[in-house]
């Protein structure tokens, strides 16, 4: 058995070990490869940056725990940006697990900036039935969320006194690992002209490119790369930026596997034909 045949029959566990090393070593060494900010992420950043103090930002946590490594860095970066601009932030979730994740992120980053729950931010919790919730909030947020996630009536929360529907919300972002932002586009943007942007996992990015081209979304933050770009824009490099070193090296490993796999295939096919 020559080297090409050995490579073609390589134990998949060797590939797993090489991939783990490709990801793990850059995390330990912190290479600091450059991250270029794309137009889509900059558009979201610029839109938030131009909002006035006290404007209301709606953040919807429409994802499960399985995609936390991508979702938490982008959610944290956006929250840091919004709190630093003194925006008022309303959090909610259209996925059950998103409510726990969102609540934690709001309180953690809110505390970092010395913000007060109920005045500077509020987390409304989870509601099932995406379509009905998004449509319902267009006419009355209180009807969809009568209480926040602490059980306090929305009518008694100072932040919510002047926020009744999408007309009072300057910008909305859905942090999602599936196609929930499509519902926001269909019902929030198309019907109520809500200014909106998705912050999605890399898997979902291509789903939203047509909406960028048609101007239905302000911009898009996609995957760990999008989170790293946002961290760079707010000048607060954290886990996403560090993760991008590992991401780049892992991509080189994958490209290496593709090249070696194809070379081995063609080399052994030639041998078989002879």
């Amino acid at each position: 058995m020559n080297i090409w045949q050995r490579l073609r029959n390589l134990d998949r566990r060797v590939i797993f070990i090489l991939m783990a090393l490709g990801v793990g070593l850059p995390l330990l060494t912190n290479i600091g490869l450059p991250v270029r900010v794309t137009h889509d992420v900059r558009s979201v950043f610029n839109y938030i940056d131009k909002l006035n103090r006290g404007d209301v930002l709606l953040l919807s946590y429409d994802h499960d725990t399985g995609t936390l490594p991508e979702m938490v860095p982008m959610s944290t970066a956006i929250l840091r940006h919004a709190f630093s601009k003194d925006l008022r932030i309303i959090g909610m979730a259209l996925r059950a697990e998103g409510s726990a994740i969102g609540r934690q992120a709001f309180r953690r980053v809110g505390k970092e900036f010395g913000k007060q729950e109920g005045i500077d931010y509020v987390f409304l919790g989870y509601r099932p039935e995406i379509t009905a919730s998004i449509l319902g909030m267009g006419s009355s947020i209180e009807r969809v969320f009568p209480k926040d996630d602490r059980g306090i009536a929305v009518s008694e929360i100072p932040l919510m006194q002047a926020v009744h529907n999408y007309g009072d919300i300057a910008f909305a972002i859905s942090i999602s690992d599936d196609d929930t932002p499509v519902y926001w586009i269909n019902y929030g943007n198309a019907r109520y002209q809500l200014k909106f942007a998705p912050a999605v996992t890399a898997v979902m990015a291509t789903t939203f490119f047509p909406f960028l081209n048609s101007g239905q979304i302000v911009g898009m933050v996609a995957g760990l790369k999008g989170a790293a770009e946002y961290e760079r824009l707010i000048d607060h490099k954290e886990m996403a930026s560090r993760g991008m070193d590992a991401q780049s090296i892992a991509h080189l490993v994958v490209i290496g596997f593709i090249l070696v796999g194809n070379l081995a295939y063609f080399a052994t096919r030639k041998g078989k034909q002879q």
Binding site: A20, L27, A96, A202, V203, G215
Partner: protein, 220 residues
């Protein structure tokens, strides 16, 4: 290294799940079952706490209280609250063979609502706005690149739609146009695959950041 038992438990479960990469084993199956059980338990509690309680039980209790205070004048409001709850219960009638037909009433209402709401919205977002997005670049041309870009999108759109037009044989010039459509589709699939690889690696990065950082303390 962390002294937090919660971190140690999470690290053990992470390694238990990754042990599947070597081969299937009882530790992996234990961790998988635990994940499913915890997820279902969490969803049940959240569903009860955020839906059944505030949307069904509390409004019904409030209306009964209202009726006891105001008498029969509260009955219409009680009926208004009970109807959706009853329709929700009808959904579960599917599990009782003799009563399964009841679920069709609730489903019919749900499908009717869904279709009525989504058809105009989908037309607006996916058809009209996308047509607008294809034509609009031609109205804002400032350079040769803008011309190329606008034409590229238009040609791509027509070619891909041609590929999915099955009422005419894909032969001659039409066949060539449809084949061009497959090239555009392949670029899309390639981009999607690339993004998928990136997403999966991101998940591995997240777990390794946890293991090397939070657990072993090797990342500052």
């Amino acid at each position: 290294m962390s002294g937090n038992p919660g971190i140690w438990l999470a690290a053990f479960l992470t390694l238990a799940i990754y042990s599947f990469l070597y081969r299937d084993n009882p530790i992996y199956r234990f961790a998988e079952s635990l994940l499913i059980g915890v997820s279902v338990g969490f969803l049940l509690v959240v569903a009860f706490d955020t839906t059944i309680l505030p949307k069904a039980l509390e409004p019904i209790a409030a209306q009964f209280k209202n009726m006891s205070a105001n008498g029969a004048s509260g009955i219409p409001m009680l009926i208004w609250v009970i109807i959706p709850v009853v329709l929700g219960i009808f959904m579960f009638a599917r599990f009782v063979p003799g009563w399964a037909w009841l679920s069709r009433i609730a489903l019919a209402l749900y499908i009717g609502f869904g279709a009525g709401v989504s058809i105009p919205a989908t037309m607006q977002s996916y058809i009209l706005k996308q047509i607008e997005g294809t034509i609009r670049p031609f109205l804002a041309i400032n350079s040769a690149w803008d011309v190329f870009s606008a034409l590229f999108i238009l040609v791509g759109l027509i070619a891909v739609i041609s590929y999915f037009f099955f009422s005419k044989a894909h032969t001659g010039n039409f066949g060539r146009l449809a084949r061009l459509g497959t090239w555009f589709l392949m670029v899309f699939f390639g981009a999607t695959f690339g993004y998928t690889v990136m997403a999966r690696i991101s998940l591995l990065i997240g777990r390794l950041q946890f293991l090397l950082g939070d657990w072993l303390g090797l990342i500052s």
